[in-house]
Symmetry: C2
Subunit: 352 residues, 2 copies
């Protein structure tokens, strides 16, 4: 505590990202990174962009990248916003669309950054309890006072909500913004993007960190109608004119254009997931059905925290959340087949 | 205006960066970029970092870059904070150290992003009138209620404040944070960094955009004692865990290490400035003494706005601010010698 901190700084409990330890080489199944490298075309585009133009500011509105995303999803460029990772866009969206004193809704088990944003911007929020097996029940999100946000698939559970369910939530919040955080949508879910044309209150946020293997590049984007895009831009342009550097934009454009590489990568991740889930179940693990690049597992006998610690000692990192309702679960990112085999092996040794 | 905007979004008047037009090739003297390319070692480091590790998140706290900056300035790593350009760091600093209801001070003629941040975070501020020839009079900044911020050299004037003057302001604001925004310090001014060890209320912010020719890479840093660094980290980690991508950090480290390139570049810019200022004065232009990579000029006869428009038509971009007190001035970035000769030629044709 320092006397120089603002009240907001003093009152914050910051988000804690998954650990990135340097003490030894780990099998990293703790931050939902993609086990496969980015497309070779991405690396090529970055090398090409590493030229003397770096002396000049980047395009502050990221026109070329927005055009590329727009074409990919068949939308107009004006319905695309780009940012320094989807976390930055989430922060802007909380500022742009939610007001203090007007309670917003999100699930009680969800991305743990949401309450951090809410506190940072002094917003009131209500945690909506998920139903059986962490499922989201749409009527719980009807008629919100201040707006709604949830990831789809949800994190850290991997649970998926259908487009029909999202549409119901949109219809029952006509004057409030509903944010669907689709960080993990490319691993089996169906995106809500087709609903944008019909619902001016829908904001969809995606990232290149997972399905495009670019966590290290920091690029995300948001899609929505003009009013929402303009709102995001008002905040962004009051915060930082140039959020994306020239290299990130060049790499991101190449990533979105390399459709075959993208398809191959996400298919591999999904195949690995489908292969190991039945094995884990046979081993006695309960696995929440996942449409994401991670699974959420628990065991009726072995305590999650103990397994987490033992795996760590064996050089395998997974994510454990010491939180109500999920403190006997582990979130395990889907790695390569070899990495997952090492995990299965380690789990067998822990609970023979 | 959209019904979906928060009160803050609706009430914002965003910052407008200098134009980056694409309609033709311009001599760009409007956004204070460096006319010389980044060090070849920077481009090399970026190309090397364009590898499969981009699939992994970057180090969220930027240890290696912080270590490099710390060594360069002879400070400890814990006194360094890194961010996505100095604008992002400024935004974090406004949140971390200033409180609504407690009036902060900055000059009436200064970086036009400051009032935008203040509005975004609902802060009260008082514009302190600069004295003769836009000079800053330290006692005007004593005993602030909420804190102080000013650029040194000031923008858009280029005026410089000595370390003794800064020290007086620090002494007279012992319980409030004084932010010295040193975006342009490498072009002749003396940095306040040596004062950090003595004053826990001093935050110095710098950028690689100008003197390191890396406006397109988006890297800035802040220096200050532990309390201030921790305050910045609390906000940053409540906003976006990973603000700097792997490529930017690799490039920034190489830039700071290439001391001889840095020295050569900034010397060239300063020499060009010293060469053209007397010529402009001979042509009848008034030039505010500048320690920055730009000059602030006005003419007793020719109106700044008219000259701005004529220069633009001739393919030369400078910056004109339609603001009280400075609406008859032009801010002209120091380009290469050839670019400045083109400017002089164009000005001669405008006012023969």
């Amino acid at each position: 505590m320092s006397k120089y901190w603002s009240k907001i700084a003093a009152g914050q409990r910051p988000y804690v990202p998954g650990e990135q330890p340097k003490d030894r080489k780990y099998i990293k199944l703790n931050t939902n990174e993609c086990p496969y490298p980015p497309s070779p075309l991405v690396l090529e585009a970055i090398k090409e962009a590493a030229n003397e133009k770096l002396k000049l500011y980047p395009d502050p509105s990221g026109e070329d990248l927005r055009q590329t995303v727009a074409e990919y999803y068949g939308l107009k460029k004006e319905w695309v916003f780009v940012g320094n990772g989807s976390d930055e866009i989430l922060a802007f969206a909380f500022m742009a669309f939610f007001d203090p004193g007007s309670t917003i809704l999100f699930p009680d088990v969800t991305y743990s950054f949401y309450p951090v944003y809410a506190n940072l911007f002094q917003l009131d929020y209500r945690l909506v309890p998920l139903r059986e097996e962490f499922s989201l029940y749409p009527p719980d999100f009807y008629d919100s006072e201040g707006g709604v946000i949830f990831p789809n698939p949800n994190a850290p559970t991997g649970n998926y909500v259908t487009m029909e369910m999202i549409e119901k939530i949109l219809i029952r919040n006509p004057d409030k913004v509903v944010i669907v955080d689709e960080a993990y949508i490319d691993f089996g879910g169906e995106t809500a993007i087709p609903l944008i044309a019909k619902y001016p209150n829908l904001l969809v946020i995606q990232t290149l960190s997972k399905s495009r293997s670019l966590a290290g590049l920091r690029v995300g984007f948001a899609l929505g109608q003009d009013g929402l895009m303009e709102g995001l831009n008002r905040i962004k342009n009051s915060f930082n004119s140039y959020t994306l550097d020239r290299l990130s934009m060049a790499g991101a454009i190449a990533a979105i254009r390399d459709e075959s590489y993208f398809q191959a990568t996400r298919q591999k991740v999904m195949q690995t997931r489908e292969r190991i889930v039945p094995i884990l179940r046979q081993m006695g693990w309960q696995v929440i059905p996942s449409q994401a690049n991670f699974i959420f597992i628990s065991h009726p006998v072995f305590k999650a925290e103990g397994v987490f610690t033992e795996l760590r000692q064996q050089g395998i990192l997974v994510r454990y959340f010491r939180q109500p309702k999920i403190d006997n679960y582990l979130r395990v990112s889907i790695g390569s087949d070899e990495e997952m085999d090492s995990l299965l092996q380690a789990l067998t040794e822990i609970n023979p």
